[in-house]
Amino acid sequence: MIDYKKKLATLSIEIKSIFSGHPIAIAGLIGFIVFVLTALLAPWIAPQNPYDLMILDIMDGLLPPLSKLGNGTTSWLGTDALGRDILSAVMYGLRLSLFVAFVAVSIGTTIGVFLGLLAATKGGWVESVIMRAVDLKVSFPGILLALMLLAVFGTGVDKIIYALIIGVWASKARLTRSSALSEMQKEYIDAAKISGIPNWRIMLKFLLPNSIAPVLVMVPMALSGAIGAEATLSFLGVGVPITEPSLGLLIANGNDYLLSGKWWISIFPGVVLVSLVLCINVVADRIREHNNPYLKSMDKQ
């Protein structure tokens, strides 16, 4: 318990040291937190459930912002063709986009870290196989691969998560491996080895905690990348199902109407998408900068 508290305190100090004096990064962090909260609370704060076909009425379709719906409520950001309230759709879309990205990045990172550690510690053919697979993946642009996979396996939230995981794991595995390899050069690993500590313990207790930092630093970047990729795939129509639109699919829907002056259908989700990715990237940049050895060494002297 005490330990937990202490860790929390260290974490808050760390966060403070990362962000203090960087107003843009702070704004990004706040923005990101607001987006996450909105996404989490969407079922309670959204004016309607845009996935519930029962309450959608095509008679409410294509209303501009601030219109009154058939049931007497106001649609602040207008509706799409099916009478879906854009504000609610954006909230739920945000929820879906974040969910997909979070899940994909955490699973992909876990897999990548595990494989990277395995490659670094096992060496030999295990390493060859893993690293060739990484090469295979890295030499191929993720978006192309995801496109192929989604074309093969069809669309759906689960499918797009798989496709994104495949986009995420390889770079993490490569990073973990190189970080673990450089960690393995260090003497504490030798110390563990000569003390007869089993390899799996060395991997989990020595290598993992020490080589994961550079991977964790990349996680926010991976997150924004995954959000962008999901949006792109959904925009191309191979992402999430049409009844549960993510931000990308909302933009795609609205794109059809853009020329007819019904700008609100795609502009709002677009603005939210760009702001979300921007917030994450600003934070990610700051974290990376903070962890940059060159800038850091200067900080410390």
Partner: protein, 322 residues
């Protein structure tokens, strides 16, 4: 050297085979080309005939070996949809992709790198912060959203530039290029800019972090301590070193360009290989998809090789490894 090339070839061979296997069998799972090519009024016999015609009646592994066997002899097969040799299709469309990719690359490099070096050197200046903010925005904006905005603003709203198609092409070396006519360039402008925005932002960020990394190297301080002028330090000591990471990344980013050109090409209806790929995926035109991916794999292998060579040319430490 020869060993190295052989090893590279061996690796890329494995890469290409794995890729072709995944795609070949993957595409088999997706859908049935016969279904895609048959009308509703096709009889069962028609479908069987069509399958025989396309060579799809044989066991899948046999199809695979036939396909790869032919491919090794330079025959990438015939498109189910276009009924023409796949290689012809790809080669005909490759220039379109190449020209926007290259244009985007040139724009990206010529704007991104100077901006990046500038903001790396003047890291704390207001201008640098503004530049960095804009590139962060630019690279946080998904490609397709940029495309939408570009079309809305420049094609529809201002009517300055066409939003789709390739425009007038002129022939050079027996290949049609849009680059060679004003009309063609006008058509290229939006898709190329669409691709380039990301490049600019990416290159700016890379050049910036590269610059900063090099700025903190001891030899930079030492160069100052020697009394060398600031201008010369940037021109010789900084630029020469910064080229190394930039060339590497640029080489690898060519892949990203080709990949994103699928998105850009489909939005701008640019008739390049990216669009061909998307269409072919939708139409289960397996020979085209497989051939595309194998060619792209080979291209990446080649690019990687070129990057390695460039790396050595730029970095004498690698060249002289003993």
């Amino acid at each position: 050297m020869i060993n190295f090339i052989l090893k590279r070839l061996w690796h890329s061979g494995i890469l290409a085979i794995t890729m072709s296997l995944i795609v070949f069998f993957g595409m088999y799972v997706v859908g049935d080309p016969v279904e895609m090519l048959s009308d509703d009024e096709f009889t069962e016999q028609d479908k069987i005939d069509l399958a025989i015609e396309l060579g799809l009646d044989k066991p899948l592994y046999e199809q695979y070996f036939t396909f790869t066997g032919d491919m090794l002899q330079g025959d990438f097969g015939t498109s189910f949809v276009y009924n023409r040799p796949v290689l012809d299709l790809i080669i005909e469309r490759l220039p379109a992709t190449l020209e926007i990719s290259l244009l985007a690359m040139v724009i990206g490099l010529s704007i991104g790198i100077p901006l990046g070096i500038f903001s790396g050197i003047k890291n704390n200046s207001r201008a640098s912060k503004i530049i960095s903010f804009f590139t962060t925005v630019g690279y946080s904006t998904p490609n397709f959203w940029q495309a939408i905005i570009l079309i809305m603003v420049f094609a529809v709203f201002l009517q300055w530039l066409p939003a789709s198609g390739r425009g007038l092409t002129n022939s050079m070396f027996g290949v049609e290029w849009s680059l060679l006519s004003i009309d063609g360039l006008r058509h290229m402008a939006l898709p190329a800019v669409n691709l380039a925005i990301y490049k600019i932002c990416m290159q700016q960020r890379l050049a910036k972090s590269g610059t900063q990394e090099i700025l903190y190297q001891e030899y930079m301080t030492y160069a100052r301590a020697k009394g060398i002028s600031r201008y010369r330090i940037i021109r010789r000591h900084l630029l020469r070193n910064i080229l190394i990471p930039i060339v590497t990344i640029t080489g690898l980013e060519v892949g990203g360009l080709i990949a994103f050109s699928t998105v850009t090409e489909s939005i701008f209806s640019w008739p390049g290989i990216g669009k061909l790929l998307l269409d072919s995926i939708h139409m289960i035109d397996r020979p085209v998809v497989v051939a595309y991916l194998i060619l792209i794999t080979l291209m990446f292998v080649f690019i990687n090789f070129v990057v390695d060579v460039m790396y050595a040319i730029l970095d004498p430490r690698i060249r002289h490894q003993k």
